[in-house]
Amino acid sequence: MIPNLFEIFATPYLLKVPLMWLAVMAPAMIIFSPSQHLVTGRYILLKKWTMKQFIKQIMSPLPTHGYKWAALFTALMITLTSINMISLLPHTFTPTAQLALTMALAFPLWLATVVIGLLKKTTRSLAHFLPEGSPTPLIPALVVVETISLLIRPMALGVRLAANLTAGHLLLQLMALAVIHLPTPMWPATVAVATTLMLLTILEVAVGLIQAYVFVLLLSLYLQENI
């Protein structure tokens, strides 16, 4: 019986009701619920400290008038991190492995940075099409290359996140299948594959965190160029 490896990426249904919206919203709402009390406990304190460090790291290169983007970047980081972490649990759905979600996040945010740059600092935004110190004969080619580089950014942003998550989950699924289906006389191979599976799971945790951070970091860099 050949299993369909991509079934794990199908939208979950409960009694014919699609649960995509729950899979996208629930992780952030569960992990990052606000506190009802004035004096908080350890958990909320840990979250506040993490978010403070993240905001300081991401927003420090931006000028003061760019700080209004802090709430958006923090919310984006919280959503992506929590979705990526929860999707590593067994039998859970991975919303960020869907190109629809990642492109829906990447394209409008990239477009916002470009439009802000063109509206507020037109000359400076257009100057990015030619790097400083470029040789004169190469100028036409460089302008074309930089334009393509600019236009490919939202696709790269969206596809990077989706591809990393998809590839990671697929690898985990394959190795888990190998561990289950290897025959008993081949137990050394099973032990080796199971050890690799454990190491790969740790790697996937790191990849989930890093990809979420890279997504937000790149957006802040694009904003830095245009603000």
Binding site: A10, L14, S33, S35, G41, Y43, T92, F93
Partner: protein, 87 residues
Amino acid sequence: MASKLQVTKRLLDVKLQELPPWLAAWDYSPKGLLRAVHQAWRCYHNKYINMKKGGVAGISMVLAGGCVLGYICSYERLKHSRWRKYH
């Protein structure tokens, strides 16, 4: 008026004969259901997660429940992969 008084009673205070009118007095509109879910989560969060010296137990129970829900959702697909003598 009587139904509103019955709604304010806690479940353990409701007598068996009063149970059907107590259940009927609940707000079953989408807004009411959402409010009920939000209140249930708030109570759970304040009791098990938002403690002074909280641990992993509170959030682990929620995640375990999420795994169970995920298993229920994907059972239709998984039942074909069970260990069988003949496929």
